[in-house]
Amino acid sequence: MSTTTAAANRGRVLGSAAVTWLVLAAALLLWELVAIGADSVYFPRMTDIIATGADVLLSGPAWRLMLGDAVFEIVLPSLATALGAWALSAALGVALGTALGRSSWAMDYCGTLISFLRSVPPVTLMPAFMVMFGIGVQMEIAAIVFSTLWPIVLNTVDGVRSVDQVKIDTARSLGTPRRYWIGMIVLPAAMPKIFAGLRLSLSIAILLMVVAEIVGGSGIGLRISTTQSTVQYTEMWFWVLLLGVLGYALNTALLAVERLVLGWQPARGDDA
């Protein structure tokens, strides 16, 4: 790529980032105005929500960069659970998907089963998970893994199957030993699809984190239900919006990793 196009690209990216923040600012302002007009307890002003959020998150001592207890006791544990379970699911899903995809018959038998399991609403399995693992972080992890596993498995199967005959012939004619086959040929070829599955399941992981926390009573989910029942609607709004920010940040981070890992791909359109 020549430097001029790189510079032009950077210019476009900067331009679109500016538009992004402008639109966001406009939306927040609109919210503020509508909330002032509506004057309802259920619909607090944006400035109040942000102030409450700052209060909750930034009430700590200076040596902790002002980060309040809520960050360490609520936000980070919630995130750790979601991301840990998601990572576990990724490892399991890619392994299972590779095995199923490499087999010529396994998907004939397991395909229907997996699409059935994917259609099971994970929320309704909560009672079963609670009985199995008790109320706590284990139950939350189980619920998240169960619901994020299937998209990863299905995408990995797809990806593993997308290795074309020419590449197989090429790799064989170049004397690739069997034990390097999966690592050197199959997984790199499947990587774009695997990442698509990982992105999808990351958003599901956040969803299930909240569900499990509402049901199990911990973390951000608990704060949302508590603030609702104690009529602290401003703080409730803050937590809900925080989920949006966290989801956006995690998705952006994963996209950055994907760009790094899949740097070999021709420039792709931004498939949000």
């Binding site: 790529m1 074309d164 020419v166 590449k167 012939d169 090429t170 064989r172 004619s173 170049l174 004397g175 690739t176 030993p177 390097y180 040929i185 790199p188 070829a189 990587m191 899949l262 740097g263 070999w264 791909q265 021709p266």
Partner: protein, 324 residues
């Protein structure tokens, strides 16, 4: 000269029983070390199957393939293949240099040595300095140069090329043909190249093997005694080239190649390509059972546009001959 490749009684059929399709039947030929041989035959005649059998990618159902005396079962270490579809043959997730180094990974070659050899071979195909790029950043012709470099890096005894220049533009094709002849001479390698392009086979080869329609069998084995130094314009204009080209074209149009005798193709009759030009033809074809076939051959050999002639000869066109 020693024998590099010995193919004897090679047969390959897909499927079993009634649904069986014989792609290659009882093929026997040898290639001497240091030769550049071209196999030319109509499209769909089983050339690719033949190449896959020779390279050990698929086991033949009959006969044997020997590479410098050793029976081929599985892909031999000192054999490399260049495929037509460079877009799919290069690993998109590896840089150009890493692609070229790839076959050396499985050999006892140090990392530094690998990099040195990759750079060296990239330079010899005219691609110095692009090692850090990814394949998609190169043009089609350059990508095919990369796959040629990758095939050459482990200094294979035999290089197989399956329609290697069929997916690049005419200009690039000429360059790649000259490149192939140059590296072959520089490295003294043995190359077996499969093509459907008559001009290309004559221009490139020391020797042209003409295959019949499926099931593939050898109908002629021509020595190409053009001078070693060839030139895209001058060589192609030379009388010798023109007459050789005509000879191969006529062979490809012969009933023997079209296999009209045994099983007349039942496909839809395409528009006749041959005119009624009945210039006397000294077709080398053996039994000339049908006059129209001869006429077609003659018309083709007179055709000014060589690419067109090649295409017409190469297409699995059950024209004239079969319907008389």
């Amino acid at each position: 000269m020693s024998t590099m490749l010995e193919v004897s009684g090679l047969t390959h059929q897909y499927g079993q029983g009634e649904r069986a399709h014989v792609a290659v039947q009882d093929l026997t030929f040898t290639i001497e070390a240091g030769q550049l041989a071209c196999i030319v035959g109509p499209s769909g005649c089983g050339k690719s199957t033949l190449l896959r059998c020779i390279s050990g990618l698929i086991p033949a159902t009959g006969g044997s393939v020997r590479l410098h005396g050793d029976e081929v079962s599985g892909v031999p270490d000192d054999l490399a293949v260049v495929f037509q579809d460079y877009g799919r043959s290069l690993f998109p997730w590896l840089t150009v240099a890493k692609n070229v180094e790839f076959p050396l990974r499985w050999q006892k070659v140090s990392k530094a040595e690998r990099q040195r050899r990759a750079a060296e071979v990239l330079e010899s195909v005219g691609l110095a300095g692009v090692g850090k790029k990814y394949p998609w950043q190169l043009s089609g012709g350059m990508q095919q140069r990369v796959s040629i470099a990758r095939a050459l890096v482990s200094r294979p005894a035999l290089l197989l090329m399956d329609e290697p220049f069929a997916s690049v533009d005419a200009q690039t094709r000429g360059e790649l043909e000259d490149l192939t002849r140059r590296v072959q001479r520089d490295l003294g390698s043995t190359i077996l190249l499969v093509t459907h392009d008559i001009d290309e086979s004559v221009y490139l080869a020391d020797r042209v093997l003409v295959l019949s329609k499926s099931p593939a069998a050898i109908v002629a084995d021509l020595a190409i005694d053009l001078p070693t130094e060839r030139d895209q314009i001058a060589t192609r204009e030379s009388e010798q080239f023109v007459s050789l080209r005509g000879e191969v074209a006529r062979l490809l149009q012969s009933p023997q190649v079209q296999r009209t005798g045994e099983n007349a193709p039942a496909e839809t009759p395409a528009a006749t390509t041959g005119t009624d030009d009945t210039t006397a033809s000294d077709a080398t074809a053996a039994s000339e059972t049908t006059a129209p076939a001869e006429a077609t051959g003659a018309a083709l050999s007179d055709g000014a546009d060589t690419a067109e002639a090649a295409d017409a000869a190469g297409s699995p066109d059950p024209t004239a001959a079969s319907r008389s």
